[in-house]
Symmetry: C2
Subunit: 186 residues, 2 copies
């Protein structure tokens, strides 16, 4: 049960402007059924994980229709109105505390860490990310919200073009302190 951080990014590592605009992203062409496409990726996911800003963005952007059938783990300390009909589990604190329940809820499929960047960094620091997929949009913003404000060492698996995007896929490189066993898949 692999945990994937699958995200779009600007070429300078931002996933949103400071005011959470995604105009830089939504104006670009991509084939959701093409290489590294969203549709096949999402179909392989058994559970989702996201932070509060991402959650509220989805609710607003989808105009109240929750787009995911999978159980979704919402990491947020603030009181959040949970959308009726969505399989939402609100939690807070150290991701390590919740990872077993998250994995169990995925029913043998994988886990998609949706974002945002701060939650991704928490998962990275806890050693809980196995693979990283970044779809780079052809734009430099100069500033914004970083997709991962934490260090992570990776191994390139594949790079491919999809529409306007340079799509990359990485495995997280085990750090020496991990030992050999801790990142082995079950």
């Amino acid at each position: 049960m692999t945990v994937h951080y699958f995200t779009a990014s600007t070429l300078d590592g931002f996933l949103a402007t400071h005011d959470d605009s995604l105009d830089w992203l939504l104006s670009r062409n991509v084939d959701a059924d093409g290489p590294h496409g969203y549709n096949a990726f999402l179909a392989g996911m058994g559970a989702l994980v996201m932070g509060g800003v991402t959650y509220r963005w989805v609710v607003e952007h989808e105009q109240g229709r929750w787009p995911y059938a999978q159980p979704t783990w919402l990491f947020s300390r603030s009181t959040t109105e949970l959308l009726p009909g969505a399989d939402l589990h609100q939690v807070a604190g150290d991701p390590t505390t919740h990872i077993d329940a998250i994995r169990a809820s995925a029913g043998g499929r994988d886990v998609w860490l949706v974002g945002g960047g701060d939650l991704a960094a928490q998962f990275a620091r806890a050693g809980l990310i196995d693979e990283v997929w970044i779809q780079f949009a052809p734009v430099i913003l100069g500033s914004g919200k970083p997709f991962m404000p934490a260090p992570l060492d990776l191994t390139l698996l594949e790079v491919v073009r999809n529409g306007d995007f340079a799509c990359t896929h990485y495995a997280v490189t085990p750090s020496p302190s991990d030992g050999f066993g801790s990142r082995q898949r079950a």
Copy 2:
């Protein structure tokens, strides 16, 4: 006479740590004669442009041997000891003031904007960059010196793998205010 910004970067858009370490870069595998490789790129360049930090890094890293035959334009306000035997031109201020002399010095070949990020941003804001090449190393630093702290809209030309790197090549998208003529090549 195209101006190219050709640079390596981390996946989160940094070209050095805050203390100017490039260990994240120099520990990775790349074929300088492979796709988007350094050797063929450099051979096509008639002039180089770099900032003071980059210049001092090259001097230190190359242990006093200047590695470039091309005229090199050093943008730096500080008093800089120029390496004997190198074809160095120290200038300062608005790149627009110097671009004609830089192009003329390239003898019909192209111009390589080496970096760093702040100088690249000045060139970008002045509309002086034609193409951007970024070789992404398989690492996220979390913080560091950005390769371009200024916005720039691009069009993807090609993405290809070279060793550990995801190599991308972009044309700068003319902004509406440019008109149609300003970015036409001579």
